[in-house]
């Protein structure tokens, strides 16, 4: 290190476009595979979750109200910024014990994933929507709309590609997200927050909470202003009672693969709206 001591980062949380400390004041240490201290990260509390959901809710209508073209460009910008900071993410992944090749691979795939979903923004309606030939004098059509506020327990592994594979399809259509990143993925997730904040993603569209994912999930599942919970990275031993609590507001429970890329994944975060309009003079 040549007498130069590294300046370790202190990651806070990412809520409403800002980086507040956890109201709990708790932090945890992120260490490399070989035990070096990499950074301190905030351990989010349920009150942080509440704030994050509030931020996501207030950003939702505006984000969904952007044109699809615009949302596509914002996601593409994320890919650009991620690509520009490729080396940094490779380093982060290597600190997690990955080989250089594997880390480079994952960063490239993650960039690709953001680009791929960016392109879906203005195509989802055409692929998932329909015009329905009803037996009457009506123009009848069905099109997708975002579910609303989504809480996403993102996968630990692969951290960066998993995050891209879950987050991008959720927000591309106009949902806003509260990401719950486990300790293993915290450094990657908070690094991504720095990318998002420089990528024209409006504040509150993505919110990232790190720390005790298993402890926060039951609060998310029981929250009445959360429309859907993505369980793709949820711990297997999530208590039955927590899952059952999702029924309290008939929440959408989303199960999915950590790295799948498909419009079916986008569809998991959508509602279908059908409009009937009479045809006449």
């Amino acid at each position: 290190m040549g007498g130069h001591l590294p300046v370790n980062k202190t990651f806070k949380l990412f809520i409403g476009g800002a980086f507040p400390r956890s109201e709990s004041g708790h932090t945890f240490q992120l260490r490399s595979d070989d035990g070096r201290l990499l950074a301190n990260a905030a351990r989010a509390s349920r009150k942080d979750l509440r704030e994050a959901v509030r931020a996501a809710r207030s950003a939702q209508a505006g984000w969904a109200g952007r044109t699809a073209y615009n949302r596509g460009q914002v996601l593409y910008r994320v890919a650009e910024m991620l690509d520009a900071r490729r080396d940094e993410f490779v380093a982060v992944l290597r600190d997690g014990g990955r080989s250089d090749e594997s880390a480079r691979n994952e960063v490239e795939q993650a960039v690709d994933r953001w680009v791929w979903y960016a392109g879906w923004a203005d195509k989802v309606h055409q692929v998932l929507g329909t015009v329905n030939p009803v037996a009457g004098p009506f123009f009848n059509f069905t099109y997708p709309e975002p579910t609303g506020v989504v809480v996403q327990a993102v996968p630990d592994d692969p951290p960066l590609l998993g995050l891209a594979s879950r987050l991008a399809p959720a927000i591309v259509t106009g949902n806003t997200s509260v990401v719950l990143a486990g300790e293993a993925a915290a450094l990657v997730a908070m690094s991504l927050a720095e990318v998002l904040t420089t990528s024209d993603v409006p504040g509150g569209v993505v919110n990232i909470l790190t720390g005790d994912r298993a402890g926060l999930l039951p609060w998310a599942l029981g929250h009445l202003d959360v429309n859907a919970v993505d369980l793709s990275g949820a711990p297997a031993d999530l208590p039955d009672e927590a899952l059952a609590d999702a029924a309290e507001n008939v929440k959408r429970l989303v199960h999915g693969d950590a790295t799948a890329a498909s419009p079916s994944v986008i569809a998991q975060f959508l509602e279908m709206k059908t409009v009937w309009h009479p045809i006449g003079r």
Binding site: L128, T130, N132, P133, V134, A135, G136, F138, N140, T142, N227, D240, L243, A244, D245, A246, A247, E248, N249, V250, R252, L253, H255, D257, A260, A261, S262, S264, E271, M272, K273, T274, V275, W276, H277, P278
Partner: protein, 494 residues
């Protein structure tokens, strides 16, 4: 001009339409029905039965088996066997043929089904004849065509049926809801255990006869009648691969609790408290008809009923006056009478629920108006009602009444209309009445509901997806989007 009234010998003619009852002779009912399992009617292992009555007369129609967990187990086993043995390998083109046959049989026997639906459930024959049965046949016919085209319905996916599907249907559209569930399930290659509602099991049992008549292989559809306990046994059964439920939000939540823990694929079509929004620039006379149809169709026993009228303040007095005038022309009474507009309330229990909510509305200070009509002495009836002066906080503005009761509220601007319409945990349907096209689309975009009727209400079609946002459930029924609920990605697929 000649005065026609003087020395006129002919009797005065009013609009005294009169009893024009549909004959019940077309229906041949058995006195007792068993459970339909493995292609035949069998005695329930439970040893229990219950009576189903005509809610318009309170007379017993038939005695029906009440399935218990054992019976459900037997039905699921029959469905599993049918799925494993042959149905999962039956080509789509063959499944299509069965569905087409069912559709044709239903068309041919539609009078019989309509009369029975009205007898068992209390809905006007005009509706069971002109709405329910045509839609039932259409649903089978529409989905028949999908059975051999699934690769086009789900391009770039390798899909497979779930296997055995448990389906629970409500009492408001008994046969139609069964059709909405059965047709896509069978088209996609699933086998089914269906539980009809306790108060309206008969048309499903008559459908069982049709299934037999068209030689649908035994076990592909099994029908287990019963009440809540029977439904719970089906929900809890460990060999079910997917559940579909239509009914109250309360029961739906219980079902979701159970399914969530097991990560069981589930679709729910639950309650609603739909706003029907009338702007001052609407085609007013059609809007009045639409509001009437929105709330009094099927006695208001409709999850998507337009039970909250949001009318622009500038026309409120005039609109309410027209509404009241129109209500005087509603004919309440014998559901079998072809002139009846509003039939019987489905059950004593439902009548009590409606009555209690209406009493709460009066107690909370809303103003109640009721159509002038004579209710029959026997049976379950509720006078078509409108509440004015309703505030957003009152129970009648928030809770699903599921009866012929409309709550009228006002708004000043489109923004306020959207805000009030969306201010509900429900999100099944909504109506918009305005002649301004851009405003229609502006509203449709903002209303958080799965079905938006513009200048229309309570329209349904096999090709049109139906289902809700928020606490009104998830998943769709009808159309391509509805079909998707009955397939999964085949093993090894993303």
């Amino acid at each position: 001009m000649a005065d026609p009234k003087s020395d006129d010998p002919t009797p005065e003619f009013g609009l005294d339409y009169a009893p024009a009852p549909e004959s019940t002779a077309v229906v041949s009912l058995a006195d007792e029905y068993g459970l339909f399992i493995g292609g035949e009617f069998v005695e329930p292992r439970s040893g229990r039965t219950f009576d189903t009555i005509n809610p318009a007369t309170e007379e017993r129609l038939a005695t029906v088996a009440e399935g218990d967990a054992d019976d459900v187990d037997r039905a699921v086993a029959a469905a599993r066997t049918a799925f494993e043995d042959h149905w999962s390998d039956t080509p789509g083109s063959v499944r299509a043929r069965y569905l087409y046959r069912i559709a044709r049989q239903l068309q041919e026997r539609s009078r019989e089904f309509a009369v029975l639906e009205t007898m068992d459930g209390g809905k006007p024959i005009r509706e069971s004849r002109d709405v329910d049965l045509p839609l039932v046949a259409a649903h089978f016919f529409h989905h028949a065509g999908w059975a051999d085209k699934l690769e086009y319905a789900f391009p770039n996916r390798d899909v497979a049926p779930h296997g055995v599907v448990g389906q629970i249907v409500p009492w408001n559209f008994p046969l139609l809801m069964a059709a909405w569930k059965l047709a896509p399930a069978l088209a996609c290659g699933n086998t089914v255990v269906l539980k009809p509602a306790e108060t309206t099991p008969l048309t499903a049992l008559l459908l069982a006869e049709v299934l037999r008549d068209v030689d649908l292989p035994p076990g592909v559809v099994n029908i287990v009648t019963g009440a809540g306990e029977t439904g719970a046994a089906l929900v809890e059964h460990r060999d079910i691969d997917k559940l579909a439920f239509t009914g109250s939000t309360g029961v739906g939540k219980q079902i979701q609790r159970s399914a969530a823990v097991r990560r069981l694929p589930l679709t729910l079509e639950l309650g609603g408290k739909a706003a029907n929004v009338v702007f001052e620039d609407a085609a007013i006379d059609q809007a009045v008809e639409g509001v009437i149809n929105g709330i009094y169709f099927n006695q208001g026993h409709v999850c998507c009923a337009g039970s909250r009228l949001l009318v622009q303040e500038s026309i409120t007095d005039d609109f309410v006056e027209r509404l009241k005038a129109r209500m005087t022309r509603l004919r309440v009474g014998d559901p079998l009478d072809k002139n009846t507009d509003v039939g019987a309330i489905n059950s004593a229990e439902q009548l009590a629920r409606i009555t209690a909510l209406v009493e709460s509305g009066v107690a909370e200070g809303a103003v109640l108006h009721q159509a002038p009509c004579d209710l029959p002495p026997k049976g379950f009836w509720f006078t078509p009602s409108v509440f004015t002066g309703v505030q957003q906080s009152q129970r009648i503005a928030r809770e699903e009444i599921f009866g012929p009761v409309l709550a009228v509220q006002t708004f000043r601007t489109p923004e306020e209309a959207v805000e009030k319409a969306n201010n509900s945990p429900y999100g099944l349907s909504a109506g918009v009445w305005t002649e301004k096209g851009s405003k229609i689309l502006w509203m449709a975009e903002r209303l958080r509901a799965g079905v938006i009727w513009t200048n229309s209400f309570n329209e349904f079609d096999a090709a049109s997806p139906f289902g809700g946002y928020k606490e009104s459930g998830f998943g769709r029924e009808g159309g391509l989007q509805g079909l998707g609920a009955y397939v999964r990605d085949a093993e090894g697929q993303a």
